[in-house]
Amino acid sequence: MTIQDRPVVNQLLKRVGYFSHLQMDEKHMGAILVTNQIGVPLEFKYTEPVVATRLHKILYGPILERYLHETVIRDRLGREIHTAPDYFIAPYDEKEFLGSVADREMVAIQKCSLPPGELSGSFSRIREREAVVELEDESIFLRLAFSTPDESIQRKIITWLQEIARTMDVLEPLDRITSALASICGEGKRG
């Protein structure tokens, strides 16, 4: 890597949104974190634990998990966020429940390893809503799942991801959210 010092004036202010869902025992929690370009929190909101009872599981059936992820937690948090990020990043496990949050698209990401030369160019679409992208400076690959099938928006998201990856670890805030939610959930259990 060459020495780089890009002019500050050419950089647009970027806000990075994160969404994560945590299930601990029977408790479901979700959180949204908005950070600046270096991962410092600007806004963090989380839901109190939602418990699905046995009766809920029977009545809601297979839609229970989607209802919890999307309606009860994600949409609810999206309405409460005041600091609008450019896009939302979620763990790759969340790819089945992707959707727009507060009118912002989501992308689920996961580190992956590819043999050298496997990827032609900086990214490659592997499905309608999935792609693999190489982060420029870190020589690592990310597997992406998009909330939208629109290829132009997907390209914007990829460009945005590569940009913020130059100043922060794009995956690290997800660990912090998980730690925070686990801590909150643990407090409730002790209480």
């Binding site: 500050v8 600046n36 410092v40 600007l42 109190e48 939602v50 009766l55 925070a180």
Partner: protein, 284 residues
């Protein structure tokens, strides 16, 4: 003589007396009065039946077997001999073999154990079963509407039994700001030789570690070294853990690549930020 004439005259001039009852009707009347079957309740398998008319006349003390047609086929099941029992004083026992209709029963067979001592007057048997009914009693089940089974989005604060679509949202920015950032090292095998040597050179210049004593343990990208309040190197995970200071009044900062270098002389680990490998970031 006078008496004979008088009797004769009387006989000749007498009004015709009603004929004496025949022996058959006498017997029938006597038997019916004796047994009074037409009013006696008869019990079939614990359910009362009523005999409306005379059925037969038998000598007292003899048991009789009567086959009735009714649809109570189940009466024969098991024992095959369900008795019709009249009051004990009448000494009549009837074994039921078969039933057809409910309202009329015919005597199909009548077996009397000692036929010579038995006189059968009539074989028709009119049996009117008392109306039988079975009261199937179900308790009235109360109908309840529970709030916790509705599928529409529940209302706020409707309790623990609903999946509340408006789950309470808590702001925890301060809480998560206190959680340290953890940054893992890049794979050192992916570094170019020049980059690898560059970090050791920085350690030599900044920390005075000779090149032949220094060992590169890890490289961490884009660390905001100007904003770090606490920094620790976790050797077991090859990662750094740090917290950042408040950034509200800061307009810009730099993120540097940071190296963890060990001095093999004293095994001390130094964290060295590369002076030339950084990016400027606007925070405004």
């Amino acid at each position: 003589m006078w008496r004979r004439e008088e009797r004769l005259g009387h006989w000749l001039a007498a009004v015709r007396l009603p004929p004496k009852p025949s022996w058959r009707s006498k017997l029938e009347k006597a038997l019916l009065q004796r047994f009074r079957l037409w009013n006696h309740p008869i019990v079939v398998g614990g359910k009362p039946l009523k005999v409306e008319s005379n059925i037969c006349s038998v000598e007292p003390g003899f048991a009789a077997t009567v086959c009735l047609l009714d649809d109570f086929s189940f009466l024969e099941r098991g024992t095959g001999n369900s008795d019709i029992v009249v009051p004990e004083r009448d000494k009549l026992r009837c074994a039921v073999r078969q039933f057809d209709p409910l309202d009329l029963a015919d005597v199909r067979t009548l077996r009397l154990p000692e036929a010579p001592k038995t006189r059968v007057r009539q074989t028709m048997l009119a049996v009117t079963a008392q109306s039988r009914w079975l009261r199937i009693h179900f308790a009235h089940s109360p109908v309840r509407t529970r709030d916790d089974v509705q599928l529409k989005p529940p209302r706020l604060g409707s309790g623990n039994f609903v999946i509340n679509a408006k789950a309470p949202v808590v702001t925890g920015t301060t809480r998560i700001a206190a959680i340290p950032h953890r940054r893992r090292s890049v794979d050192l095998s992916t570094l170019k030789v020049s980059e690898y040597e560059g970090y050791l050179e920085e350690a030599r210049i900044l920390k005075s570690i000779p090149l032949d004593r220094s060992e590169l343990l890890g490289v961490f990208r884009h660390v905001p070294v100007e904003m770090i309040s606490r920094l620790r190197y976790a050797a077991e995970e090859s990662s750094i853990v740090y917290t950042v200071v408040e950034v509200s009044n800061r307009k810009r900062t730099r993120v540097h690549d940071l190296a963890a270098v060990r001095d093999e002389a004293n095994q001390e680990i130094h964290l060295v930020s590369h002076r030339m490998r950084y990016r400027a970031v606007s925070l405004n």
